[in-house]
C-alpha cells in the first residue's frame, strides 16, 4: 500500500478513538518516508532513534544518533554527530520468504507517536503470498529513566488459525547468555556492536516462545496463540555484565513512562478549538522534552536534535534563543545542563576572541564538542560552484545569545549558585568581548562588519539586532556585577578576583552600552536595519514566498546582498527578546515596514512573527504564522527528512506561551496579558517558575485561572497584581497590549 502523505489527522481511519496525546501516520509513501521517520522519532537527549521500518525498505534511513560524540566527516561540516545502525533493524522471513512492505499486500499500516510517553508504536497488517494475514507490531522508546537504554518490542503473529515459521536475521550473530531478572531465569540473545569512539551498543533480546538460534538467525514456529515476541534492551555506550540482575523489560518501560509522563504533565499545553494547532504544539513539546540532554553539562542540543543527520549536530544560537525557553519553564535541569555546556566551552570562546584581537569570549557560531568554531569557510554547491561562508567570521551575536539564556534561566529559576559558579563568568566575558568589539569614531560607538539574524546581508555595519543585544549584554553584566555581591559577597569577590575584573570595568560596560548606536527604539520611526539598508533595491518578496523558493537560493548569494529584503526577523527580533527597549508606536511602525520585507527563508521566522502578531493583537497574522509554523515539519514531512526543525518547535512554544498567553516574569512575579484569536476558545498549560509548578487556563471570554503549587506567588494580569496561594481567578482584557501593561510595571523575559 502506498499513498501520498496525509496530515496527521484524528479522522484518519481508526484514529478517532485515540487520546489527543497521540499523533498518527497512516500508510506509507516512499518519497516522504524519511521525513516521517524523523517526525516520529524518539530520543532522550543522549541518543535518538528514527521510526524506521524494522524489516527494512529502500526508502528507509534507520539510525541511532548519539549526542555529544562527533566524528570527522569529509563534508564541509568537518565534524558530524555519530550515527550508527539501529539495533532494531532485522531481516524478517516467513517460511523462508523475506517480508517487506513492497512485496506484501498491506491491509493497514500505522505509526503512532505517544507524545506523553515519548514512544512510537507501529502496526502493520499484511497478507503474504500464501494468502495468510499477519500482524506485526512494535514499540520503541529511548528511556527517560536510564538514558543509556533503548527499549524495543517486536511482535509478529498470524491472524485466525494460520501458522508459519518466522525467522529473524540480525546484523551480527547473537551470543546466548543466561540472565536473571525478577521474573525468572531466562536465556537472552546478546549482540554487541563496536561503535568507535562511543564504545559498544550492547543489545539483549529476550524472545518468548519456542525458538532456536542458528548462526545469526532466530527461528520459531508461530501461531496466533504463540506469536513471535521479542523484547530488546540496547545499552548505548556499554551496559550491565553477564548475569547482573536487571529489571524486566516491562519494569524498564514503566520506569521510563513514569519519568517521561511526569515531565510531560509539567509541560503539557492544551489548545481548544483547533486540532491542527493542538497536534503541532504537542509535537513540539515531544521533541523539545526528548531533546533534553543528560544533566552532566557535556553537550547541548543541535539544530535538528537527534532525529536526523542534517546540520551534523552542530549547535547554533538556535539552542539558547529558541529551544531553551521551553526547557527553562518545563525542565529547568536540562536547560541548566545546556548552559553548562557553554561554560565548558568558554575557554574555546576566549581563545577565539583572543585570536581575532578581542577581549573576553566569542562563542563559536557552529559549535560541537570542543567549542571551537566549526563553520565551514566555503562549500561546493550542488551546481559545482564554490560559495564563501561568512557566518562563522561575522555572526557574533551568539555572544549575546548565551548571556541572554543564562540570565533568563537565572531569573526564572532563582538558581543563584549556578549564576555565581558559572553563569556570571559567561556574562562578564561576553561583555568584555562586546566592549572590545565596539569601535569609537567621533564619539560614535559602532559594531561593524557583522551578520545579524538576517543572513542575506553580510559584512554590514551597526546591525540593529546585534547592537541592541550587545548593549543589553553590557548593561546586564554591569548590573550583575553589583547584584552578585548582594547574593554572596565572598563568592562574588572571589569571582571578580579570578577574572581580574577591574573596579571600573562594570561602569565602563554600562557606559558603552548607553552609547552603542541603534540599540534602543523609543522614537516612533522606522529603524534602518543596518547602514545602507534603505538604499537597497526593492524586490517582490511575496512572489518568492508564494513560489516556495527561498529568496537567497533563487537569486544567488551575490544578488541577494543588494536587495531590500530580510531572511528572518532582525530588527523585529529585538522586540521579541527585549521589548523593554521598544515603545509601542515605534514597534508597530517597524512591524508594518519589515514584515512585508521578510522572506521567512529561515524556519525560525514564522514563529517569531506569530509571537509578535499576538503582542500587536493582530489575530489574522497571528493565526497565519501559527499555522505556518505548525506545518514546518508536519505539513508534508519532506522538510523533516534530515531531522525535525527543533528551533522552530521551540519558537512555536514561545508563540503560544509568550505570545498567546502573554506570559512574562521577573524574579518577583509572573505576569500574563493573554490574547486568543477567534477560533481558539481556550488555552491551558503548565510551567515551572522559581520552584513552583503553575497551571494556567485562559478562556477567550476574558477569564484566567491559575493554580500555583508552591509558595505564595505574585501574579500580575493586565498590570493588576495580587498574591496567589493555590488557586485564583483573574479577569483580563485581550485588547490590553503588552506595552500598556508594561507601563503599569511589568517587565518581560531577561
Amino acid at each position: 500500500m502506498e499513498r501520498d502523505p496525509t496530515d496527521v489527522r484524528p479522522e484518519a481511519p481508526g484514529a478517532e478513538s485515540l487520546p489527543a496525546s497521540m499523533l498518527v501516520y497512516d500508510g506509507f509513501a516512499p518519497h516522504v518516508e524519511r521525513g516521517v521517520e524523523a517526525a516520529f522519532s524518539v530520543s532522550n537527549g543522549l541518543f535518538g532513534v528514527r521510526a524506521s521500518l524494522e524489516e527494512g525498505n529502500p526508502a528507509s534511513h534507520p539510525m541511532v544518533i548519539v549526542a555529544g560524540v562527533y566524528v570527522p566527516t569529509v563534508l564541509a561540516a568537518s565534524q558530524t554527530l555519530l550515527a550508527t545502525d539501529d539495533p532494531a533493524s532485522v531481516v524478517i522471513a516467513i517460511d523462508g520468504e523475506r517480508i517487506q512492505l513492497a512485496g506484501a499486500e498491506t491491509l493497514a499500516h500505522r505509526r503512532t507517536l505517544d507524545v506523553r510517553h515519548g514512544e512510537v508504536a507501529r502496526s502493520w497488517l499484511f497478507r503474504d503470498r500464501e494468502n495468510r494475514q499477519w500482524r506485526l507490531e512494535s514499540l520503541r522508546a529511548a528511556s527517560a529513566a536510564d538514558e543509556r537504554c533503548y527499549l524495543h518490542r517486536l511482535l509478529l503473529a498470524p491472524e485466525g488459525d494460520a501458522a508459519g515459521t518466522v525467522s529473524l536475521r540480525f546484523a551480527a550473530p547473537p551470543v546466548l547468555e543466561h540472565a536473571e531478572d525478577r521474573a525468572a531465569s531466562r536465556t537472552v540473545l546478546v549482540t554487541s556492536a563496536d561503535v568507535p569512539p562511543l564504545g559498544t551498543i550492547r543489545t539483549s533480546r529476550r524472545p518468548a516462545g519456542d525458538w532456536r538460534l542458528e548462526g545469526d538467525t532466530v527461528t520459531a514456529p508461530v501461531t496466533r496463540a504463540a506469536p513471535l515476541h521479542i523484547e530488546s534492551v540496547s545499552h548505548v555506550g556499554g551496559g550491565p555484565g553477564v548475569g547482573v540482575v536487571e529489571a524486566t523489560f516491562d519494569q524498564m518501560l514503566a520506569s521510563h513512562r513514569r519519568v517521561r509522563s511526569q515531565r510531560w504533565d509539567d509541560a503539557d499545553i492544551i489548545i481548544e478549538g483547533n486540532d491542527e494547532l493542538q497536534r503541532a504544539i504537542r509535537f513540539a513539546l515531544h521533541h523539545l522534552l526528548s531533546a533534553a540532554p543528560p544533566h552532566d553539562g557535556y553537550t547541548s542540543i543541535g539544530a535538528r536534535d537527534l532525529s536526523g543527520e542534517a546540520y551534523h549536530g552542530h549547535i547554533f544560537w538556535d539552542t539558547e534563543i529558541f529551544m531553551l525557553p521551553a526547557l527553562i519553564f518545563s525542565h529547568p535541569e536540562a536547560a541548566r545542563s545546556c548552559l553548562l555546556y557553554r561554560y565548558r566551552t568558554l575557554d574555546a570562546a576566549r581563545a577565539r576572541a583572543h585570536s581575532l584581537g578581542f577581549a573576553g569570549a566569542l562563542y563559536a557560531w557552529e559549535s560541537t564538542d570542543t567549542g571551537e568554531d566549526r563553520t565551514p569557510s566555503s562549500v561546493i554547491l550542488p551546481d559545482g560552484s564554490a560559495q564563501r561562508i561568512f557566518t562563522g567570521e561575522q555572526e557574533h551575536h551568539i555572544s549575546s545569545a548565551v548571556p541572554y539564556a543564562v540570565v533568563q534561566y537565572w531569573r526564572a529559576t532563582g538558581d543563584d549558585r549556578f549564576m555565581l559558579e558559572y553563569g556570571a563568568e559567561m556574562v562578564f566575558e561576553c561583555a568584555r568581548f562586546w566592549n572590545s568589539r565596539v569601535t569609537v569614531t567621533d564619539d560614535q560607538y559602532s559594531i561593524g562588519k557583522v551578520i545579524g539574524p538576517d543572513e542575506f546581508h553580510v559584512g554590514v555595519d551597526d546591525d540593529a539586532y546585534t547592537n541592541a543585544m550587545a548593549a543589553w549584554t553590557l548593561r546586564t553584566a554591569s548590573e550583575l556585577a553589583g547584584r552578585l555581591s548582594t547574593i554572596d559577597e565572598s563568592s562574588a569577590l572571589a569571582l571578580r578576583q579570578r577574572l581580574r575584573i577591574e573596579p571600573a570595568e562594570p561602569a565602563e560596560w554600562a557606559a558603552t552600552a548607553s552609547r552603542i548606536s541603534r540599540s534602543s527604539f523609543f522614537e516612533p520611526r522606522v529603524v534602518e536595519q543596518f547602514d545602507g539598508f534603505f538604499g537597497l533595491r526593492s524586490v517582490d518578496v511575496s512572489a518568492y514566498r508564494k513560489g516556495g523558493v527561498p529568496l537567497d537560493i533563487a537569486l544567488g548569494f551575490a544578488a541577494v546582498q543588494g536587495v531590500r529584503a530580510v531572511k528572518q526577523a532582525d530588527v523585529l527580533m529585538t522586540a521579541a527578546l527585549l521589548p523593554d527597549v521598544w515603545q509601542e508606536d515605534a514597534f508597530r511602525a517597524n512591524f508594518a515596514f519589515y514584515e512585508p520585507l521578510t522572506a521567512h527563508t529561515s524556519s525560525l521566522s514564522p514563529p517569531v512573527h506569530a509571537l509578535l502578531s499576538a503582542w500587536l493583537r493582530d489575530a489574522e497574522r497571528c493565526r497565519s504564522y501559527l499555522d505556518e509554523t505548525a506545518r514546518i515539519d508536519l505539513g508534508d514531512f519532506r522538510g523533516a527528512a534530515g531531522g525535525v526543525h527543533l528551533a522552530a518547535q521551540g519558537g512555536l512554544w514561545q508563540a503560544v506561551i509568550f505570545g498567546l498567553a502573554g506570559f512574562k516574569f521577573t524574579p518577583d512575579a509572573v505576569a500574563f496579558d493573554p490574547f486568543l484569536p477567534p477560533g481558539l476558545p481556550a488555552l491551558s498549560f503548565a510551567l515551572q517558575w522559581r520552584g513552583r509548578r503553575i497551571r494556567v487556563r485562559i478562556a477567550a471570554e476574558g477569564m484566567l485561572e491559575i493554580d500555583v503549587d508552591g509558595p505564595v506567588t505574585m501574579v500580575r494580569v493586565n498590570g493588576m497584581q495580587r498574591p496567589v496561594e493555590g488557586r485564583a481567578v483573574f479577569a483580563f482584557d485581550p485588547t490590553i497590549t503588552f506595552w500598556s501593561a508594561m507601563q503599569q510595571g511589568g517587565t518581560y523575559g531577561a
Binding site: Y311, P382, P550, A641
Partner: protein, 286 residues
C-alpha cells in the same frame, strides 16, 4: 496463452515535406523494442487507399517496411485517437508541418498532440539534422531527465531508465532551482533554508532519494544528479549542450495554455539534442 502483440510506433505525416528523415528516425526508435511502424495521414477528405501513401509522401522504398493508414478529422485529435487505437508505444512527430513557422516552438498539430498523447512523443525538429538525430538515437550514452520536484516528473525516470538499461547509457538527472517560481508546479527547493550550505546539501540528497522512491529505477542503471539555478527551460537546454546529451526525456503536465508549459516550449526551441516528452499521470491532484 494469447500471442504477444508486436509493439507499435506511430508516425503521423501531413505530406508537407518528404517523409524520409522522419521515417529513418522512427526506424531507429522502433528498433529499441522491435516495434512495427505505422504511418498515419490525417486529412479532411476521404482518400482511396492507394493514394494515401503518395499524399503522405512515403517513399516507395518504405512501403514494405511500414503500414500506412488514413484518418479523417482534426489532425491532432485524429493522431491521438489512432495512437490509442493501436496502443502505440511511441509517436514520432515532426515539430512543424505545412505552416513551417520556425519562430514558434512547434506547429499547432504537434502542440495539440503534446497536450494529451496516449504515449511518449518524440519530436523531430528541423533545427537538428536528421543524421545527427539518428546518430544520437542509435548511440545513446547520456540521457537527460529534468526533474522539477513533482511526482509527475519522476515518471520520466522509469521510462528513461528502461531506455538506459537497454542502451547501456547513463542517466543524468537535472533539477533547476528556478528564479521564476510562478513557472513551477512543485516545491523546487527546500521550503526553509536556515543555513543554506547545509540545507542544499540535505535537500539535494532528499530530492534525489524521494524522486527515486517514486520511480522504479533498476539499480544497474548508472545515474548522476545535478542542480542548476535559473530559467528551467534554458538551463536544461544549456546543460544538455554542456554535457553532450543524446536525448532529453521530459515528463510534463500537458497543458499548453498561455503561461504554461514554459519548459516544453523552451526546449522545443533551444535544445540541441533529441527530445522525447511523456504526458505524466497526475499523482498529487489536479
Amino acid at each position: 496463452m494469447a500471442p504477444k502483440t508486436q509493439p507499435r510506433l506511430l508516425v503521423p505525416l501531413d505530406g508537407s515535406s518528404p517523409a524520409e528523415g522522419q521515417l529513418q528516425i522512427a526506424e531507429v526508435i522502433a528498433a529499441w523494442t522491435g516495434a512495427e511502424i505505422h504511418v498515419l495521414f490525417a486529412a479532411d477528405e476521404v482518400l482511396p487507399a492507394e493514394a494515401v501513401a503518395a499524399r503522405a509522401r512515403v517513399p516507395a522504398a518504405w512501403l514494405e517496411r511500414v503500414r500506412v493508414h488514413a484518418a479523417r478529422g482534426e489532425p491532432a485529435r485524429a493522431i491521438q485517437d489512432f495512437a490509442r487505437g493501436i496502443a502505440a508505444e511511441v509517436i514520432v512527430l515532426a515539430s512543424h508541418g505545412a505552416t513551417r513557422n520556425l519562430e514558434l516552438p512547434a506547429g499547432h498539430v504537434t502542440l495539440g498532440v503534446l497536450e494529451d498523447p496516449p504515449c511518449p512523443v518524440y519530436v523531430v525538429r528541423s533545427a537538428l539534422s536528421t543524421r545527427s538525430q539518428i546518430h544520437r538515437l542509435r548511440h545513446l550514452r547520456r540521457i537527460l531527465v529534468p526533474l522539477d520536484g513533482s511526482a509527475e516528473a519522476t515518471q520520466s525516470i522509469e521510462f528513461a531508465s528502461a531506455l538506459a538499461l537497454r542502451a547501456g547509457a547513463r542517466l543524468l538527472m537535472l533539477h533547476v532551482i528556478c528564479d521564476r517560481p510562478e513557472l513551477m508546479r512543485a516545491p523546487v527547493a527546500p521550503g526553509y533554508s536556515d543555513q543554506s550550505h547545509y540545507e542544499l546539501e540535505a535537500w539535494g540528497e532528499e530530492f534525489i532519494r524521494s524522486s527515486f522512491a517514486r520511480s522504479a529505477r533498476p539499480p544497474e542503471v548508472r545515474a548522476e544528479v545535478a542542480l542548476r539555478y535559473g530559467d528551467p527551460g534554458r538551463e536544461i537546454a544549456r546543460y544538455s549542450r554542456d554535457e553532450d546529451c543524446d536525448l532529453i526525456v521530459a515528463a510534463w503536465g500537458g497543458r499548453l495554455s498561455p503561461g504554461r508549459a514554459h519548459v516544453v516550449r523552451t526546449l522545443l526551441q533551444e535544445a540541441r539534442c533529441p527530445l522525447l516528452f511523456l504526458r505524466a499521470r497526475t499523482l498529487d491532484g489536479p
